[in-house]
């Protein structure tokens, strides 16, 4: 079997066997970062007194149950991420990408802890994968965000613990060194963590803010190579498509900009739901490229555009800017029922490249906020 031979070749390569060609390039870059694994983390904290809590992660746009504020003492919060390399369909044409994922989704799941908690992550790279991976938490301090301590080959797992010292929403992503870094990130290997202040979100004047629903939207730019006729190409494995994809990546012009891994992943039957009077917190991450979320027909009541909760939120925003390599959070209370589009307000990216999600919001119409004084009528 052709495919199995390729797998074996990569395995052999990972074991240090000399190898040439594309796949050689893929793997050869990794030892650069592997050297960082020598970084030390200082004296291990005495965590024997702390509660350990194991969290089952859920796939975006949903988020595991959590307290919005807590009076409990800091905990050790345990998560497991299974790395899964798999083919994913990313648009309604059936275009595919050989995706690299945390827990099988693009983006990876949102983790929620409180400031002062310890995050204890088990990162598993099953033997069925072909590539080395790791994880760089922007919320962590030291060792390349943990990337230097977490590089795992297929068939290995690693456990990292870091203290969540800064409150906010932060990107995490794979960073296995050199050209592998952007390639893994634009193949889907990124997600976000939310570190809540222990006393919860505040409006900037000391008043608490609460949400009824939280949605996590990961925006993903893809760079899919095309054949001579302009059709998107598909590849048997990630390595096979590496060089072609790199060429597209260097144009800095994505072929797809999507929410939740695929165009239409958050529309139609997958549209997010809320009711009039409910408040939603929308966490939006972009691990690679700038973006500008906008809720058509609504607003950002309170927005942490840089995503960090010790800064007072901005209020009444129309569109907010999220810098590539960061996450932001926007709180909004729905005031009118209807279908809302949540877009990247570069509308070419929203409409042509896929960056559109929908909310359907049920409830009572408020005529005071808006009314159709005269329906469309022949001009008098």
């Amino acid at each position: 079997m052709e495919n199995e031979n390729k797998k074996l070749s990569r395995r052999a390569l990972l074991a240090g066997v000399a190898f040439a060609g594309v796949v050689g390039t893929v793997i050869a870059a990794t030892p650069v970062v592997a050297e960082e694994a020598e970084v030390t983390t200082g004296p291990a904290p005495d965590l024997s007194q702390l509660t350990h809590e194991k969290i089952e992660l859920v796939a975006p746009p949903y988020v595991h149950a959590h307290e919005q504020a807590t009076t409990a003492a800091p905990k050790v919060v345990e998560f497991t991420l299974m790395i899964e390399e798999k083919e994913m369909v990313i648009d309604d044409l059936g275009t595919t990408v050989q995706a690299m994922t945390y827990n099988g989704s693009v983006p990876g799941p949102l983790m929620v802890v409180h400031e002062g908690d310890y995050v204890e992550l088990t990162l598993v790279n099953p033997a069925s994968n072909m590539l080395q991976h790791n994880i760089d938490f922007h919320s962590a301090t030291g060792a390349l965000g943990g990337g230097g301590l977490t590089l795992v080959n297929p068939g290995e797992q690693v456990k990292l613990r870091f203290k969540a010292t800064r409150a906010g929403v932060f990107v995490y992503h794979c960073a296995p060194g050199g050209p592998m870094i952007p390639w893994h990130v634009v193949s889907g290997m990124n997600g976000a963590i939310m570190v809540l202040p222990r006393d919860g979100l505040k409006d900037g004047k000391g008043n608490p803010l609460k949400y009824d629903h939280i949605f996590y939207i990961g925006e993903q730019d893809y760079y899919i190579p095309r054949d001579r006729e302009g059709n998107f190409k598909s590849y048997e494995s990630a390595g096979d498509g590496y060089e072609d994809m790199l060429a597209v990546m260097k144009t800095l012009t994505p072929t797809h900009v999507v929410f939740n891994g695929a165009a239409g992943a958050l529309t139609g039957e997958h549209a997010m739901k809320a009711k009039v009077g409910e408040t939603v917190l929308i966490v939006h991450s972009q691990a690679n490229r700038d973006t500008r979320p906008h809720l058509i027909g609504g607003h950002g009541d309170y927005v942490w555009d840089t995503g960090k909760f010790r800064n007072p939120p901005q209020v009444d925003l129309e569109t907010w800017f999220i810098a590539g390599g960061s996450a932001g959070a926007a709180l909004y209370k729905f005031l009118e029922p209807g279908v809302y589009a949540y877009v990247n307000h570069n509308l070419i990216e929203a409409v042509e490249l896929g960056a559109t999600a929908h909310f359907t919001v049920e409830g009572t119409w408020d005529d005071d906020l808006m009314t159709q004084v005269q329906p469309p009528t022949p001009i008098e």
Partner: protein, 299 residues
């Protein structure tokens, strides 16, 4: 399908007893400019057609309807149709369309989804469909055109989808109808394959018309428009908007006439048609009743 010479030939059964009459009529028709004269020497496969016999049927009127300031389902009309219609059994295929392009009479199609084999042409706009009809008419010496929404419904028979939401929405809450429409279209869109399939793949209705409501939506000649109804249901105002034409298929979709790819996104939250194509009807020649009479007489 049979290959015919392009000269008009209303019915083979007329050849023996009706030769004289037919020739005479054809001569009159051509000389008086009532039917287009075929292009010299052209030979074309005559599209396979279905003759839908007269019957009474129901179809919702086209366009948007507003009653008492609230959007409502289009009224259902019962139509007594006393004449047959002759409609293409299949949607116009890629190979058929390619001949029009090769003749320089049609612009190239721009399909979003590439598919191999004898699939319906997709990635065509309303104007392309009209160009094709003009070309086919010239090639066959017959008159081909797009069906109206009503004619499409007549030929669709049991495959006609009732577009009504069938819900009484609160007149004070416009959002109820938006959400209901959104959810219904989302469910329709998610139900089936979006790829163009070989012609015939979606089966036939009881009349023998194939691929209705498959993955390819069909342009009609009907203009979009808005009709305001009074409380009693009478028409108060009607504005036609012919820059937008109605597509029929799994759901009814208004679309700007120049669009070849009905994708959605951004502010437009509805589910778009997967692919845009068409089929044509053959206009009944003015002498058709005579020909039918002759056929009846000659048994």
């Amino acid at each position: 399908m049979k290959v015919i010479a392009s000269r008009a030939n209303p019915s083979p059964s007329l050849w023996l007893p009706g030769l004289l009459l037919c020739s005479l009529l054809a001569l009159i028709a051509v000389q008086s400019g009532l039917v287009p004269f075929p292009a010299a020497g052209a030979t074309i496969e005559r599209p396979e057609t279905i003759i839908v016999p007269p019957r009474s049927f129901s179809s919702r009127l086209a366009g948007e309807f507003v009653r008492d300031r609230v959007p409502v389902d289009a009224p259902m009309a019962t139509i007594e149709r006393d004449r047959p219609i002759e409609i293409m059994k299949f949607q116009v295929g890629v190979f058929d369309y390619a001949r029009c392009v090769a003749d320089g009479a049609c612009e190239a199609a721009a399909p979003r989804r590439k598919a191999d084999g004898d699939v319906p042409v997709t990635g065509v706009n309303f104007n392309d469909a009209k160009d094709y009809a003009r070309w086919l008419s010239a090639q066959t010496g017959e008159t081909w055109r797009l069906p109206t929404v009503e004619e499409w419904a007549f030929a669709a028979g049991s495959r006609l989808v009732d577009h009504a939401l069938g819900i009484e929405t609160d007149s004070a809450n416009p959002a109820e109808r938006w959400i209901a429409t959104y959810e219904r279209e989302a469910a329709l869109g998610a139900a089936a394959s979006a790829k163009p399939e070989p012609r015939g793949a979606f089966g036939e209705n009881e009349l023998g018309v194939a691929d209705l409501g498959g993955s390819v939506w069909e342009w009609t000649a009907t203009c979009d428009g808005r009709t305001t109804l009074g409380i009693d249901g009478g028409v108060l105002t009607h504005i036609e908007s012919c820059g937008v034409r109605i597509l029929e298929g799994r759901h009814r979709a208004p679309m700007s006439a120049f669009i070849r790819d009905g994708r959605s996104g951004g502010c437009s939250v509805g589910t778009p048609p997967d692919n845009l194509g068409f089929r044509l009807v053959r206009e009944r020649p003015w002498y058709a009743p005579l020909a039918e009479l002759a056929r009846r007489i000659t048994g």
